[in-house]
Symmetry: C2
Subunit: 320 residues, 2 copies
């Protein structure tokens, strides 16, 4: 017998840990009831992953669950917000309990790790589609935004860039030299992105602007320039590359993956040069690398180690 919507939610999506104290009413009524603390702004965002478009439906369901929440938490990280509450709208062709259990494991583990409570959602039949909504909290008026960078600001990124893109290339049959260990390492970077929440929160009051890199560095850094009448110079030699990336592809390919590869979910942010020490002193669970400078020009110029420069085409993932 197939379990119904209510039984599935009860069995797999009711949090095992106590709910956050600011959850007045969780799953099970017409809406969740939450009590935002005084003096805090609310950051609210939603993102969808569609099978066959944003992920291969043969992926491990636990990875899909992790990734669907991670890409949303990454948006909160880019605002410097602390995640609080989550809603999950999941449609799937049939109620395959093994799939749901694995999905819920991946989703709920990440939710628990970041102290966010799943407070509501929707399970329905349909082509596989995972839409997650997350709400986070921020000291009033302190959020990091995409606007705010000024000429002279340093440009930074977290972690390493391009690994997810290389993983996709390998899954597509390219980069045949990669060993099993290398493939596994890169695949994890694609399937299990780590939202940079701790870094984002510590950048409040320090960064002048921030965004998460979902569509590729060139495209997302472009959004920090949009409408501000500013440009950027990125040092080709400073792009942070993983050891696996360096081992598996040429320098030129690595640079292309780092600049144009989507699905990194690292942060890109800017800060006044005087704050470089404060940024170096940020205790973070990932590296932070200065990759360039905001200029009073326009667009993004890539500067090579020999001092020559080339304008970057700004082209990220196109959703249509």
């Amino acid at each position: 017998m197939t379990l119904g919507e209510f039984e599935l939610i009860e069995r797999y999506f009711k949090p095992r840990e106590p709910l956050r104290p600011d959850v007045v009413l969780g799953i099970g009524d017409d809406a969740a009831l939450l009590r935002p603390p005084v003096g805090m702004d609310l950051a609210l965002t939603t993102d969808t992953l569609v099978a066959g478009v944003h992920f291969d439906d043969r992926m491990d369901a636990a990875d899909i669950g992790h990734r669907a929440l991670a890409v949303n938490l990454s948006d909160l990280a880019a605002m410097g917000a602390t995640p609080a509450w989550t809603l999950l709208a999941l449609t799937m062709p049939e109620a395959d309990e093994a799939w749901i259990q694995a999905f819920a494991d991946g989703f709920m583990s990440l939710a628990t790790r970041h102290c966010t409570s799943l407070v509501g959602g929707n399970l329905a039949r349909g082509p596989r589609n995972v839409t997650v909504t997350v709400a986070g909290l921020l000291p009033m008026g302190q959020a990091l935004r995409r606007s705010g960078a000024r000429p002279g600001d340093d440009i930074y990124v977290t972690g390493t860039l391009g690994d997810a893109r290389l993983a996709l290339a390998i899954m597509g049959g390219l980069a045949p030299r990669a060993t099993v260990a290398q493939r596994s390492d890169l695949y994890t970077r694609y399937a299990r992105p780590e939202p940079r929440l701790a870094v984002g929160q510590r950048l409040l009051g320090i960064a002048s602007s921030a965004i998460d890199i979902s569509d590729g560095l060139a495209s997302d850094l472009g959004h920090l320039l949009d409408g501000n009448r500013i440009g950027a110079v990125v040092e080709a030699g400073s792009l942070p590359l993983s050891r696996t990336m360096r081992e598996v592809v040429t320098d030129q390919e690595a640079r292309d993956h780092a600049l144009f590869g989507s699905d990194d979910y690292e942060l890109c942010f800017t800060a006044r040069p005087a704050l470089a020490g404060a940024i170096r002193a940020l205790a973070a669970d990932c590296t932070i690398t200065r990759i360039g400078t905001i200029t009073d020009g326009s667009g993004i110029n890539l500067r090579y180690p020999d001092g020559s420069e080339a304008a970057l085409p700004v082209s990220g993932y196109r959703h249509f």
Copy 2:
């Protein structure tokens, strides 16, 4: 040339009216920033409509837009909340601008009418799926919940019941006696439900429990009994039926539609008998009808005009 995600949002989903003053930052960053007022709780809910499952994809896109938002606002109405902010995650096979324009018209008109700002969302390619998240505000601790009914409470519903179910039956080729005007009237009830927000808000401090009727009266009234060790008697002769319903089908069919038909999006609520006068005095844009009484029994009994009673099967829409 196909417009990209950003252009589509800019053209069709940027609100034309000024944003609510509690919107610090709307569409265009990694997350929206909202400022909840002090002393208010937040009600948060999400609901998905899938083409071919929850609606016929040949429906007018403006109706789909209205309905996708209305079913979510109906959940807020059932809590007594005042809607504030909305997120829209829309996936569709291709960026058909005529479809998107009509959808946005239906969606944004209803949003404007209820003073809610669209503050974020996601447009992506995929099978048509409309997932809406709404956030509403409530005086702290005052929300209407599904729990709270006690034996002796009166049971009420808003509007008329079963019209949406009859519309679906007609679309499926049944009830052939209906005229064009009757079909149109019923279809509107299905395609353009009116969330009972004003009634819900006025029931704060009056109703002992409330729910919206999405899966059918028998099923949703059942949720008001769940876990409370109470039952209900519903007077068959009191079920509110539209004139069109009475004209088109037999009394027996009308009663079945009213009891078991989904997609009504009316409210069902309970209140102490002493508050009957206060409920009659509620100035509302829809009728409010007393249909029965909460008992110390279990399940739902239907009482016929001759005094006989029959236990109702509790069977609503099954999502799997």
